[in-house]
């Protein structure tokens, strides 16, 4: 058994444009995906995640580099000879076939005996809770049910890897949340490697073992959901995953992993954690997540505290979301959990209130601009 189930080595994919030029959809991407992993490709539309997936499936061939599946170089192997199966964005169910025929299709292509096909199709339909629906046509099913048929149709082939191209994109929010958990449970149950393409960061965080964040054809960071969220390695990742505040400044002092940053316009210094290589005098951003900022009516520490004025308060039940103006047009979002159950107005913030922000150094990530 190969070390990695899927490996992309320096893969480049260029497409011709109608104007006669060329556009690089995937730019030197390298990935190693382990057996049984739930791996997500996450990024905004046009970042190359779907093209990467399609190259693994065999619908596109790399302009440069290699895709390996189970250690075998795929080259120009067509999709029908690859040990992977895909769940398509719009399901791509065969409208003229019943649910049963849809699921049986892949096994018929393998020319398996009828009895085995029947047994496996029924088991697959049972697994996705569609037993008894086998005679329906796709059009007679709800979106969630069609999604399950698409899953069963791909999983029944027992692929080495299941590729999922924004499979929940067509479903409504509530159903999407349900299916996220179901998909993750299903993946644990069948033990097949899932490669999941999505632009929804919450979806990726919920389900993945590891995530590759992509932008403009490049992989920016690969890591577990916690690593990606807590230790983004660049400004784009910090911004794209979850919410964050950016404070612009210059490096004043470097002290190991600790950095002293002078915040532009505020004439104040913040101490933060260095992410990546930095030099003194370099322009940087300090990224602080809104839930990691403490609010108080007085200065709590000698350092890393900023005074400000509350400009907006939104009570949303679980949290209170406060916007604080720290001067020079710099607005900081702060989310505070409502841990106390009280009606006392003094427990909440009000507009124009003077306030102090405490940004603990370990919550301040200093990233290159």
């Amino acid at each position: 058994m190969a070390e990695y189930v899927v490996e992309m080595k320096n893969v480049v994919k260029k497409f011709p444009t109608p104007e006669g030029g060329e556009v690089t959809a995937v730019d030197h991407v390298s990935l190693q995906i382990q057996h049984g992993e739930f791996f997500s490709l996450l990024g905004p539309s046009g970042c190359g995640k779907t093209t990467s997936l399609r190259m693994i499936a065999g619908f596109e061939w790399p302009t440069q580099g290699e895709v390996l599946i189970n250690g075998v170089k795929m080259g120009r192997t067509p999709p029908y000879l690859r040990p992977v199966n895909t769940v398509f964005q719009n399901f791509a169910l065969f409208q003229h076939m019943t649910v049963y025929q849809n699921v049986a299709f892949g096994l018929e292509m393998e020319k398996l005996p009828r009895a085995e096909i029947d047994r496996r199709v029924k088991a697959a339909l049972e697994m996705v809770q569609l037993a008894g629906m086998d005679k329906r046509k796709p059009k007679q099913l709800s979106g969630g049910q069609q999604q399950r048929v698409a899953l069963a149709r791909a999983l029944v082939k027992r692929p080495a890897v299941l590729l999922l191209d924004e499979p929940l994109g067509a479903l409504d929010l509530k159903l999407r949340k349900e299916m996220q958990l179901e998909l993750k449970a299903l993946q644990m149950q069948v033990g097949i490697t899932f490669i999941y393409v999505t632009h929804d960061q919450e979806e990726a965080l919920t389900m993945s073992d590891r995530i590759a964040v992509m932008d403009r054809g490049k992989v920016l960071q690969i890591g577990t959901p916690v690593e990606i969220y807590e230790r983004p390695n660049c400004r784009f990742v910090a911004d794209f995953i979850g919410e964050t505040n950016f404070l612009h400044g210059r490096v004043k002092e470097l002290n190991g992993d600790k950095v002293v940053v002078t915040i532009n316009g505020l004439e104040r210094e913040l101490i933060g954690w260095r992410q990546g290589d930095l030099t003194v005098g370099q322009s940087v951003v300090v990224s602080v997540r809104p839930e990691k900022i403490h609010l108080a009516d007085h200065q709590m520490l000698n350092q890393n505290c900023l005074p400000g004025k509350v400009t907006a308060v939104a009570y949303i039940g679980s949290d209170t979301r406060v916007n604080v103006d720290v001067g020079h047009g710099c607005q900081i979002k702060v989310w505070e959990q409502n841990k106390l159950s009280t009606l006392d107005p003094r427990a909440y913030y009000s507009q124009q209130q003077d306030i102090w922000l405490t940004l603990l150094p370990e919550n301040c990530l200093v990233l290159a601009e």
Binding site: F59, N85, A92, F94, F105, K157
Partner: protein, 307 residues
């Protein structure tokens, strides 16, 4: 402004109280009838009435000078049951059937190609398919005669490049008739085929390939079934007019090839036996109807192949 509104109100009340207007407004069936009435009137005057005339005519008798004698009988129909006419009928059926099959075989790859090229080229190609309709049909048939005749373009070309020594005798044979018919009816097959092929999404074929289907099997299991409705529509559009066609056999088939269309034409215009021509027309109508019905049933047209 106010007076305008008042006038409108009065008008509304006046029309609204007329019982027939109210009936039309409140009854969806009546609304449908209103919308259909222009075409309905047209069809009744120019289609249903002439049909009734033809039916009546087919039961009358030809007078000695080609006039019509009002003596009701079924003589005309009995005359049709004659080996000569049955042979013409059989030949017409087989010609129409072959024409349909050939237009499918020739038109399918073309329709498939058009459905798969980028959208901009697609409209150009569809436009090109319709270009022949700009020229009169008879002129185009004469062009074919120029090509096919013994000393025509095709023969001189083939002799010049040395494939044949003696000119091929194509014009005025059943082959020429078939060539002309396929040429004439090809667009009627290509357009509906294109419409249904265009709806076959690339992602469906990708899904088939992903599930292990080689291109040929994906075609047989996905593309072909999904294009059946287009094939049926095209077949009907080709088969029905092909059954009644008389211009092509007349000009390209010579006197040797007579289809039922020629025969009916001759009864009306040459022999001046209108009642017999009417009876033959009825037979053609019934036969075409029967064939079309059986064909569409067989092909599962009613089953909503494309749900």
């Amino acid at each position: 402004m106010a007076s305008n509104e008042t006038i409108a109100n009065v008008r509304e009340t006046f029309w609204g109280n007329l019982s027939i207007v109210r009936k039309v407004r409140e009854n969806p069936a009546m609304q449908g009838l209103t919308l259909m009435s222009p075409s309905l009137v047209y069809l009744i005057i120019f289609m249903i009435l002439p049909m009734i005339l033809v039916i009546i005519l087919s039961f009358l008798t030809r007078g000695p000078y080609g006039d019509i004698v009002y003596r009701v009988n079924v003589e005309n129909y009995i005359r049709l049951v004659d080996p000569l006419y049955l042979r013409i009928l059989g030949y017409s059926l087989s010609t129409a059937t072959f024409t349909t099959i050939l237009t499918i075989l020739v038109g399918y790859p073309l329709a498939y190609y058009i459905a798969r090229v980028p959208a901009r080229q697609r409209s150009t190609l569809l436009f090109l398919i319709l270009v022949p309709f700009w020229t009169n049909f008879i002129i185009r048939i004469y062009a074919w005669i120029m090509i096919l005749r013994t000393e025509g373009f095709l023969n001189s070309f083939l002799i010049n490049i040395g494939i044949i020594q003696v000119p091929l005798n194509i014009l005025y044979t059943p082959t020429a008739v078939l060539i002309g018919m396929v040429y004439e009816f090809l667009p009627f097959m290509v357009l509906p085929l294109y419409t249904s092929l265009e709806k076959v999404e690339i992602s469906q074929l990708e899904a088939a390939a992903d599930l292990g289907a080689r291109p040929w099997r994906a075609f047989l299991r996905i593309t072909l079934p999904l294009s059946v409705p287009g094939m049926i529509a095209g077949s009907i559009l080709v088969f029905i007019p092909a059954m009644g066609m008389f211009v092509v056999p007349d000009l390209m088939g010579g006197a040797k090839t007579i289809l039922i269309g020629n025969m009916i034409r001759n009864q009306f215009l040459v022999s001046r036996d209108w009642p017999f021509g009417a009876a033959a027309s009825m037979l053609l109508l019934i036969l075409t109807l029967a064939f079309t019905l059986v064909y569409t049933r067989r092909a599962g047209f009613g089953e909503e192949l494309l749900v």
